[in-house]
Symmetry: C2
Subunit: 167 residues, 2 copies
């Protein structure tokens, strides 16, 4: 497998995996491309490399910047904008976890809390709904907190301890 094939394989796989962290194919592919590029790329470069339209490139780059994992880079002497990805994989994970928590987990927790707080009318079904959503709330709360901890500052203590266990 040569460079070109390997790069395409990586970009393709990463693109297909986009759903894992909730983004579309083009967005994931742009990210993959920037992640393995030694230098920042222009929109032109990206369009050409991935075979996508200008509008598509523009919108998805904006999306990646909203996620906070891609940013504009000023290249001296160049008029157009260049883009680069966050290169540190831990930092990448940290940002993604934080964003997903904010965008999806927190809103869900709000609903779980709301639903589990309805009045108990004595009906079996109502009681089950309250019980199950309460359990779910507590679980998600713990899981989210764990994820954030793991992925955040406290990497030292917790991660090191865990990693020791896993080796």
């Amino acid at each position: 497998m040569n460079y070109k094939e390997a790069k395409e394989k990586f970009i393709g796989t990463w693109g297909a995996l986009g759903s894992l962290w909730g983004i579309n194919k083009a967005m994931a592919q742009i990210h993959a491309l920037l992640y393995v590029s030694p230098d920042p790329l222009s929109m032109e470069d990206i369009m050409e490399d991935l075979g996508i339209s200008r509008g598509n490139a523009s919108m998805n780059l904006r999306g990646l910047m909203d996620w906070g994992i891609v940013y504009k880079v000023n290249v001296p002497g160049e008029r157009k904008e260049f883009f680069a990805s966050e290169k540190d994989v831990s930092e990448l994970a940290r940002t993604i976890a934080k964003e997903r928590s904010r965008r999806e987990i927190q809103p869900t927790m709000r609903v779980l809390k709301e639903v589990s707080s309805i009045e108990d009318d004595g009906n079996k079904k109502t009681q089950e709904l309250i019980k199950k959503t309460k359990e779910m709330y507590e679980f998600v709360e713990t899981a989210d907190a764990m994820l954030n901890r793991i992925v955040n500052q406290e990497q030292n203590w917790v991660t090191k301890t865990l990693v020791k266990f896993l080796k």
Copy 2:
């Protein structure tokens, strides 16, 4: 908010969240419905409650059974099949984590390994590709192992320790 509204809110939210764990809306909604039902439901019940077709119900129930979080329940004296969801939220999470790892993370890791093993031809781009995919491989490997550990047996030691930290 009464029972009906609360139930619909939960089912709707859970459905919208389906993408978080990679399943479609109907599938997530069926799961939500079964999760908060005190008793097993027939396909008829599910179709009616969610307003979906028979074919849709059938296929998505099968999908949920493939995930291993919904199963058939035999109700004595009834000819038709009844379905119930795994009710323990930790068990649910464990199953989902295991399946996602098997379906998505493992295949991705295989590609990362493959791509990071190409021959170093001395080119800067090739070297960057190798370096970045290697880093990603190592990170995903650790994260996957952590997730599995956390979600699996060793809950006692690790989880308790972590939970203590998070309270």
